[in-house]
Amino acid sequence: MTGVTVERARSAAPPEESGGTVEMSMRDALNRALDTALREDPATLVFGEDVGRLGGVFRVTDGLWRAFGQDRVFDTPISEAAIIGSAVGLAMNGFRPIPELQFDGFGYPAVDQIVNQLARMHYRTRGAAPMPVTVRLPSFGGIRAPEHHGESLEALFAHVPGLKVVAPSNPHDAYHLLLRAVRADDPVIFMEPKARYWDRGPVVLDPAGEGERADDPIGSSRVVRTGRHATLFAWGAMVRRCLQVAELAAEDGVELEVVDLRWLSPIDADGLAASVGRTRRAVVVHEAPLTAGLGAEVAALVTERAFRDLAAPVQRVTGYDVPYPAGPLEPQYLPTNDRVLLAVQRTLEY
């Protein structure tokens, strides 16, 4: 970044010994990652609806406005197209914007700016215009929110060349994946599973010496539980569901491997195939509707890369092909433990 005179500001987060493992919620991990990003690069900006004084409706940006000032962290009008469109212009002017779209359903009003502009400005300008923009998008269901406040847009954005898409499932990944997204020189859609904002877990803030994690390449999946009878593929909020299912299955002696895709574009096809090579069976679990969902992509990739390893067709457990339902019906829409277990059973019966 050249020419930016904005001074580096103090941190919003309380001091913490570096290198330590800290127990925190995903929300706090994301807050910490934004704090780190704002501290390490004065070109980094956080903006969107209510991200300043209020600290975001989920408080992910809490305290950043006070710590970094309103030039670095600021509220915008309710204007999703202008939020993303201005991020495009800021990126053309040497900044590294981290705009927030307050809820997933409000990503739709910004689709033109995301798909026609953000995703292809680098291409359109033959590489002249950098687009290091990270769009934070609180995503998926599970909190009984009103309409437009619980959607799964990953297949839409994963289909768009020029974008990268990532969804963390736990506080540690939330911290590191967000920093990786912000440091990336390409546009990233960062899908935060809002049902997991309050889940707590260990975060290794500085994994230097831990021999892994911080520098995981873009597009890497993670085996979050090893098993030998079948693999559950999931991302975002559904990873915890799959870990629960694996616990239940273990009671019956069925050892399930759980793979967190993390990156939904690019997808770690080799990593997925490797898991299937070990387990020979696969079930994809996602919240989005079935038809043309990312589960179809995962099934196709696994079939292309590991057909000979497969002992059964890849199964999908997903939401239904209906608009996202009202709160009382949500538990009947989202994949349940029983539905995942049934799918596991189907694949084991082959």
Binding site: S79, G85, G89, L90, M92, N93, G94, Q113, H122, R126
Partner: protein, 347 residues
């Protein structure tokens, strides 16, 4: 809605000062060069060299006059797709510009960052918020650059334009919204495009001054833009200028204006041709003589022919360009597809 209330009047500017002779001559040269290059481009389309083209005839004053108020060292222009005269006046490589119309690359083949003229964009409201973001960046960085955002009367109906103007007003971003109201959004006239009749009048709702100017009077456009740029640089925020002009030709070479507009209207606007008008003004003021106009014509003709020959000779992009610019950090999957393409498709 209160239909009995007339729309808020936009500021009516005083009659523009006469242009200094040097500036008048420079404007004339650029406007004529754009006119003749526009004619060459239409001819190239008729010959099948350009698959399609969007003529700029009639809007030369609105474009040349407005960009003349900029400083290319520090300002930036965000065009849509009918800004040939603006690009030419800014010194953009016109072969690279026309490469977009030859479909050699969607955004054109000039370097938008170096030339301070953004990539050609066919979503007409799309680039307007980019201008606001870029302008916000200038303020944040403590610089004094100003963004000039071109859009048309049709684009003024797009939500992005409203969002952009409101955001700019709230942020006091140094941006000049320059609407070229050429009366026709493809086949739809102002009456069916702009409720309230005036784009300039909308400015009040966004907390910025709005001015309607005669877009065929290069001096008026120049003066209004210069004032808006001065405001922007001094921290007073955005401005909206509605340059009322006329698209003398069709929307594009695929278009048939006979289906939707009266030829008498086109003939009437010929009377307001901005180039003829500037020539008359210059003659009346004694700023130029026949020799100047003849010289300007020869120079404009030569530059148009150079650009024409250049775009005809411009090589097609290498197939690898399909893949090259998608990401700064290419993905393994894209690299795999690139390799497969080389083996299976590449000539």
């Amino acid at each position: 809605m209160h239909p009995e209330e007339p729309p808020a009047a936009a500021a009516e500017l005083p009659a523009p000062d006469p242009l200094p002779p040097d500036r008048a001559r420079a404007f004339y040269r650029d406007m004529l060069a754009a006119r003749l290059l526009d004619e060459e481009a239409i001819a190239l389309q008729r010959q099948g060299v350009l698959p399609a083209y969007v003529p700029v005839r009639g809007q030369e004053a609105a474009q040349v006059g407005s960009v003349a108020a900029l400083d290319v060292e520090r300002d930036f222009v965000f065009p849509t797709y009918r800004e040939l005269a603006a690009a030419l006046a800014l010194g953009v490589d016109m072969v690279g510009y026309l490469a977009s119309h030859r479909a050699l690359w969607h955004g054109g083949r000039y370097d938008p960052m170096a030339s301070r003229f953004g990539a050609v964009n066919a979503v007409v409201g799309g680039p307007v918020p980019h201008a606001v973001g870029w302008a916000m960046g200038e303020r944040l960085a403590g610089r004094t650059g100003c963004a000039l955002s071109f859009f048309g009367d049709g684009a003024s109906s797009e939500g992005d334009v409203h969002e952009a103007m409101n955001l700019a007003g709230v942020m006091r971003a140094p941006v000049v919204f320059l609407c070229q109201n050429n009366r026709w959004a493809l086949s739809v006239p102002n009456e069916r495009q702009i409720a309230g009749g005036s784009i300039a009048a909308r400015a009040a709702g966004y907390g910025m001054p709005g001015a309607a100017v005669d877009g065929n009077d290069v001096a008026a456009v120049y003066q209004a833009t210069r004032e808006a740029v001065r405001r922007a640089r001094s921290g007073l925020g955005p401005s909206l200028i509605e340059a009322r002009t006329y698209r003398m030709g069709p929307h594009s070479t695929s278009d048939d204006t006979g289906r939707y507009r009266d030829p008498a209207e086109e003939r009437a606007w010929e009377e307001h041709d901005p180039i003829a008008r500037l020539r008359d003004t210059m003659r009346a003021a004694g700023h130029a003589d026949d020799e100047f106009f003849a010289r300007a014509e020869r120079a404009a003709r030569a530059s148009a022919e150079r650009a024409r020959d250049g775009v005809c000779a411009e090589p097609e992009p290498p197939g690898d360009d399909l893949f090259r610019y998608v990401y700064r950090e290419p993905t393994e999957e894209l690299a795999r597809q690139w390799r497969a393409w080389r083996e299976e498709v590449a000539p």
